[in-house]
Amino acid sequence: MNPTEIFYWSLAATAAGLVLTGVWGVLTRKNILRIALAFTLADTGVNLLLVWSGFIPGRSAPIMDPTVTSVVDPLPQALVLTSIVIGVAVAALFVVVGVLAARKSGSADVRRMKELRW
């Protein structure tokens, strides 16, 4: 494995690790704000994975200066731009509704929020 391949696959491993950490956090944590934090971690991991899918080692950023000859794929970067903004909008709504539910049921523990059950 030459250094370029180590660089390439370590980025993908980081992104996948963040997604798995976020999913584990959503499944096992009890405080509603910690669930929101884990969701944000998973969202960051997914964005990293999307940008990684368009990355080609050795090429440069997609700003076509006169000195630039070959660029990486600009399409996943455009999609991730949208995805980051949507991620923060969802996090804001998640936190506000979580605070509302915690105030209504008296504690921030999801096991106490009885209205969430069937």
Binding site: P3, I6, L33, L41, T44, A108
Partner: protein, 83 residues
């Protein structure tokens, strides 16, 4: 940046991000968890820069690390951090 330096930086940063991500879900105080998630967002911005995506790096740094942290800090101020 030589290829081996890039590989070393990416490996170290990636390992740090995963350890920090797991730690943020296990620490006792909520304020520490929020700050660690903000740090993971900032490191993600560095990784975006290493992948030659400057637009995404600026956006992640300004929105993910700043606006998102403020949102979580407000939520913690209304509920109270667990001890």
């Amino acid at each position: 940046m030589t290829a081996s330096l890039l590989a070393a930086v990416a490996c170290v940063t990636g390992l740090m991000m995963i350890v920090a991500g797991i730690a943020s879900l296990l620490v006792k105080k909520l304020i520490s968890a929020i700050i660690i998630v903000g740090f993971v967002s900032l490191s993600a911005s560095v990784l975006f820069f290493l992948m030659h995506a400057p637009d995404v790096a600026i956006t992640e740094a300004s929105i993910g690390a700043a606006a998102s942290t403020v949102i979580f800090l407000w939520g913690r101020a209304r509920i109270g951090g667990e001890e």
